[in-house]
């Protein structure tokens, strides 16, 4: 679905401020996957995702979407952007229309869809993120921060992209708001069977939802694997300054105390099961 080949991007090339943000990244993301992208501030994750819908042209290397080189001769970047929907960080700052429904309709309208089709999509996307019908005719500027954010996410979902990329969709929200948005994204993924890429700081969030995790460090891919495989490398991950989920840390401590317990634990539910099994085994 998404493939990059030796993707490299250098900011301000030829000036003293030169910085390689993405360094020789080879990546292959399968169709329908839910991928969590994690990395430090400045690890190049935001730069990487902006390559995937052609907002940034790579300094060198290639990006393929559905096997098609997006900077190829006969490819219209606009079509790629409808295929690969990108929700930026703090997306509520991009809202501009008079009403919520008009703002969600901005993307579909740019696609040149019929009025009816636009309407269905707006309603569908609004429902997906839990924006009620009664809000559709309100001004988006009257909404609360969390609501605005969900309207903005709906604006991208309404384009029905084959790939949905979200850059820190929960940044600056309270725990409840985070929970709600993450659940909605998970549900969206399950219902639409599309590929979802979720960029996040929080290992906890990523561990809970993603089928695969891409860890970025200093512009390079540190690892790209399933959560259990990633978290068995907890020490290495800690050494690049990222924290593993709290439960994984607890299990690491238990192991260092000489308790023989598995290491690839990263959700609370699974941790409970593991401890129970361990205790039962020991009790025997």
């Amino acid at each position: 679905m998404i493939r990059t080949e030796k993707l490299t991007y250098t900011y301000s090339q030829g000036t003293p401020f030169e910085k390689t943000a993405v360094d020789n990244v080879d990546l292959h993301i399968e169709e329908g996957a839910f991928v969590g992208i994690i990395g430090h501030t400045g690890s190049g994750k935001s730069t990487l995702i902006q390559h995937l819908n052609g907002l940034i042209k790579p300094t060198s290397g290639k990006v393929y979407i559905d096997g098609e080189d997006i900077h190829g001769k006969n490819v219209k970047l606009r079509d790629i952007r409808f295929k690969v929907g990108l929700v930026f960080q703090y997306p509520e700052y991009q809202i501009f229309e008079e009403t919520v429904s008009k703002d969600i309709a901005f993307g579909p309208k740019n696609m040149g869809l019929s009025e009816e089709e636009i309407n269905t999509r707006v309603r569908e996307a609004a429902a997906m993120v839990g924006v009620g019908e009664e809000l559709l005719d309100r001004s988006p500027f009257e909404l609360s921060g969390g609501q605005k954010r969900r309207v903005a996410i709906a604006g991208v979902m309404a384009m029905r992209p084959k790939v949905l990329i979200l850059d820190e969709p929960t940044a600056g929200l309270d725990p409840k708001g985070r929970e709600v948005i993450l659940d909605q994204i998970k549900e969206y993924h399950q219902r639409s069977h599309t590929t979802v890429l979720l960029v996040s700081h929080s290992m906890e969030d990523v561990a809970r939802f993603a089928e695969k995790i891409l860890v970025m460090n200093k512009g390079k891919v540190f690892c790209y694997d399933t959560p259990p495989n990633v978290f068995t490398r907890a020490d290495e991950i800690a050494s690049i300054g990222l924290s593993v989920p709290q439960v994984t840390k607890v299990f690491g401590l238990l192991r260092s105390k000489g308790i023989d317990i598995r290491q690839d634990v990263y959700t609370v539910d699974f941790a409970m099961k593991t401890i129970k099994e361990y205790l039962e085994q020991k009790g025997r």
């Binding site: 301000s12 902006q50 700052y93």
Partner: protein, 270 residues
């Protein structure tokens, strides 16, 4: 694209020009501009240019930077020079249809081009070598006597400081919003004029909204720190003038006199 704007950008350094007192630099720049506009002959203009070249070399900036700062005004220069060439009366050299290329026109437009370029370069030299904060400080101090007639010198300087401070922030913000709207399929750089103007709405509205939000936040933050205007406010870094500042000022006045003498002389002969 937006990152290429260099006007008003400061490049730190430790040359003589960088170290001059900003108030004097401001004055010297003003003198340089007076030089440019009081010069009516090429020799007079030449002296002003010599003055600029000396200061430029003393600043140890790269010539590339100066050339880069010229880019945005090239269209202005081309248009004014074309208008001047063809619409000033004089002895015709070549005539095409109704347009006549005259000696006077050629001379005036050549003069205009040099004057414009020197003007931009001179003021760029000031902003390249002086940090915006120091510059507004200097403006405030120069204008301070006017507060006696209720001129809001401090407020003006504060407004300028804030405006300058937010230029990069707003550029970054614009870049972000443009990317976000492009990701939703907005077409910003193609289509007929009206459509392109309309395409600006999704950029401008979020930009306005966020500017207002920023303004409110800043006002609040300033009030929290008990900001209440210029009265009794002290400076972290006060401007100090010394011998070299007076020397630089004297040199520029000398150059100004030279320009005036040359052009007055010409007037006297005529």
């Amino acid at each position: 694209m937006l990152k290429d704007i260099t006007i008003g950008q400061y490049f730190p350094g430790d040359s003589v020009v960088h170290k001059l007192d900003a108030r004097f630099k401001l004055l010297i720049t003003a003198i340089f501009i007076v030089m440019l506009f009081s010069a009516d002959t090429f020799p007079g203009l030449g002296i002003a240019l010599v003055f600029f070249v000396i200061s430029f070399i003393a600043s140890r900036l790269s010539p590339k930077l100066m050339i880069k700062s010229m880019k945005p005004i090239i269209p202005v220069i081309i248009i004014t020079s074309i208008l001047n060439i063809f619409f000033i009366e004089g002895v015709p050299l070549i005539s095409i249809y109704k347009f006549r290329l005259t000696d006077n026109g050629l001379r005036t437009s050549g003069f205009m081009i040099v004057r414009l370029i020197a003007l931009i370069c001179g003021s760029s030299l000031l902003t390249y070598t002086t940090s915006p904060i120091v510059l507004t400080d200097a403006i405030e101090q120069i204008l301070r006597p006017l507060t006696k007639i209720k001129f809001p010198a401090h407020e003006l300087a504060m407004m300028m400081t804030i405006a300058l401070r937010f230029i990069p922030t707003l550029l970054e913000e614009t870049d972000k919003i443009m990317s976000a709207q492009k990701a939703r399929g907005a077409e910003l750089d193609s289509g007929p004029f009206l459509q392109r103007a309309k395409a600006l709405i999704p950029i401008l509205i979020p930009l306005f909204v966020s500017s207002f939000r920023r303004a409110e936040e800043l006002a609040l933050a300033m009030e929290c720190r008990c900001y209440n205007g210029g009265e009794g406010r002290t400076k972290l870094k006060t401007l100090v003038s010394g011998g070299k500042d007076y020397l630089a000022l004297s040199i520029s006045i000398l150059f100004l006199c030279a320009v005036m003498v040359i052009d007055m002389g010409r007037l006297g002969v005529a």
